[in-house]
Symmetry: C2
Subunit: 205 residues, 2 copies
């Protein structure tokens, strides 16, 4: 990299600190920016600064937002009685993309992880309990990941919600759609087997 | 992407316009920047703007530089009598990395390409001829690529330099080092066969 002028070396250095961007890619991107239109480059730099200045957490669900309330919390068409609990904003976006959910969210901003020193007070469980206690919420869907931490966080929250007048559900685990059974891991297959459902209506389980 | 706030969508949009960065990667990078330290993000944005403001072309060799003369042209230790002609600044960097050359460079900023409407006046051939005519240059090494355009550009420049008191050489083409012969294409093998050299000193060719 020593063969470029200092300002290009500097850009390559900062680009290479992004996740998944190595020295080679950083060099390619930097040279691209060098030859790109002034306006496009300024817009990129401005959007990088703006994202840090403008984005904050929604005061109700703690998802990412440009305003006090996020676009979902401020949308009167969404069902306020159903709250889906996820680990991170990205999980919320994934569920939104699926189009399968029309309620509200609650972003924990993490999972319980005693080994990393993350306890119940470090993620937004207290805020969830407060929302569930208002009487506005009918169902809490636990949509944390199916990792060990995700599962134990879901179990912990389910326990804490027991005293409140809400029904608590957990998203289904099983074989992914479009998946070939021989490539599915054993833990998933075991889970899918245990959670099997009766097909048809003649012999209800 | 509609599920993120506008400022994040905006950043993802601009990131995804970079070469080799798709929507998914742009989303990942944008979320990374959102959570990264303020200082690191500001430095990245600043280095992007600076590269456009500061970098210009060296007035002698036309490589990228922060100053009037690039670091190579202003280095008295480099041999001014040997000039290596390349297509783009990236080619110069590649040769510098090899450590095999200690002379000066001349960046054409392109290759002759009649189909794309690029003629001799569109790349810096006139400037090369002027440098060669000063009497300061002893050898011109043609290091344009081995593509059709690169080869014909080298041939054209060699013809134009014939009248001047400089020796003109072309970098060798052949089988890449560490290459397995069965994976080398036929044109390269033919070239390597034609350009074969006598090994040892008993039978000089």
């Amino acid at each position: 990299m020593n063969h470029y002028p200092a300002s290009i070396r500097n850009l390559i250095h900062h680009m290479a600190r992004l996740p998944g961007i190595g020295e080679k890619t950083a060099e390619r991107l930097s040279l691209h920016l060098l030859y790109a239109a002034d306006k496009a480059v300024e817009e990129l730099a401005r959007s990088i600064l703006e994202v840090k200045q403008k984005v904050r957490l929604c005061s109700r669900c703690f998802s990412l937002s440009d305003n006090e309330l996020c676009s979902i919390c401020s949308n009167p068409a969404r069902d306020v009685a159903v709250v889906c609990v996820v680990e991170q904003p990205g999980d919320m976006v994934a569920i939104e993309k699926s189009g399968a959910f029309h309620g509200h969210y609650h972003i924990l901003s993490g999972v319980l992880s005693p080994l990393s020193g993350v306890g119940p007070d470090d993620i937004r469980i207290r805020e969830l309990l407060a929302r569930a206690a208002t009487g506005e919420v009918r169902e809490v869907i636990l949509a944390t990941g199916t990792s060990v931490e995700g599962e134990s966080t879901a179990a912990y929250i389910a326990g804490r919600l027991e005293a409140l007048p809400v029904s608590v559900t957990r998203i289904a685990a099983g074989v992914p759609m479009g998946g070939d059974l021989k490539y599915v891991d054993q833990v998933t297959l075991k889970k899918a087997m245990e959670s099997r459902r009766v097909v048809g209506s003649t012999h209800p389980r």
